[in-house]
Symmetry: C2
Subunit: 254 residues, 2 copies
Amino acid sequence: MPLPPSELRTLVEAYLDELDLTPELGTLGDPMRHALGGKRVRPVLCLATGDALGIPPERLLPAAAAVELIHSFSLVHDDLPAMDDDRERRGAPSVWAQYGEAAAVLAGDALLAEAFRLGLSYPSGAVARELVEATLAMIGGQWLDIQGEAPGDELHRLKTGALFSAAIGCALAVVELPQAEEAHWRAFAEDLGLLFQIVDDILDGDGLVLELGADSARQLADEAAARVRVRLGELDADTEVLLGMVDELAVRTS
Amino acid sequence: MPLPPSELRTLVEAYLDELDLTPELGTLGDPMRHALGGKRVRPVLCLATGDALGIPPERLLPAAAAVELIHSFSLVHDDLPAMDDDRERRGAPSVWAQYGEAAAVLAGDALLAEAFRLGLSYPSGAVARELVEATLAMIGGQWLDIQGEAPGDELHRLKTGALFSAAIGCALAVVELPQAEEAHWRAFAEDLGLLFQIVDDILDGDGLVLELGADSARQLADEAAARVRVRLGELDADTEVLLGMVDELAVRTS
């Protein structure tokens, strides 16, 4: 019987609360922990994918936490004055606004490195490879974003979709699936990333909403959600919890 | 017959010149490549260690390049206005002075991520683990440095010694050595890192030079060099090239 997202979220919170940072980082742990707010969508998705595949959540927690650390790393650096210049994040001061720019640069660096350390706690390098590829895509997406040159969908695929897919990819990386089954999961991951991006645009009123209007964007989101549900139906796994998460992501309001 | 450092350096330069960056990084490759100047001390040390252990340089080039990318990542972020505020690096504009702060933040992030990608090109995660531990130590060292609170030797061990040791550790990570032999190599790596740090202080006129005076710092450097030579003599390997490198590092003037 798969665990509901609320229980998976509790596991993620407890794991992050108790996570031992590298001792040499010292008080840099304060801005790092400040950066680790958020709804835990990605780590819960990672654990739910694993649960559907029969992987106990405990085994996936380091990978799930690593995905969350990489998400936080990107926000800390994106908020910097030289980048998006955001003083607030989730109703609180952003890391640089609270701790200064130098702390924000180094806390972001350390979150990324700690994420790789967690990814490398698995015997094989497969989880870490998922993480590094998503990270490089995100950095490329942010670079396109600040230059203002890229079409919105390509930008969003890199900035948002890549890490979303990696949350699922990390679960796939710790099991050996037949190639065809893995391909089905990858297709699900890609379409779910797309759905998340479209809903992001709808909530932010930018990207696709500016390009196509709010109604067309909502229609695209509905179509993406329908496609994701079909993908889920093709999987040889207990996907009930994942289906519930898809339904929530499709109509989320924050 | 081990290859001389000059030939190893040529191999490193050619590998870095031809290194394919992740395509999604696009034009961020320009500030990244701008950052990749330098004398290649660490990658050459990595290859020379491998050569002494019978590992062909070609097999170690991705690890050696990864060490150099991490060195460059740290310099790009350390030079930022919010950190050390250095407009020049190696007689040329630093990355932020040439390309802007946002480019420097992202180029540093990307150099670090590319380094992990290179480290993960090996079947096991051992090389990547060496890299991530050194990176976390360096970040902790830089954090201590900007706070101005740490004793100079601890700071230097983290900021300089850790990556220096990792250059040797990456070579050890791709061979299986008997535990006692590996311990000898690790001791050599640590003492060589210390020697490099002391000479850094002598060249920069700071750290140990301010604490103890120039003559005492020079004496410490000579003692460290002597200890490193003893360590080399204990190793069951053809250490002639490494010995030459130690002699050069002990009296280097830049």
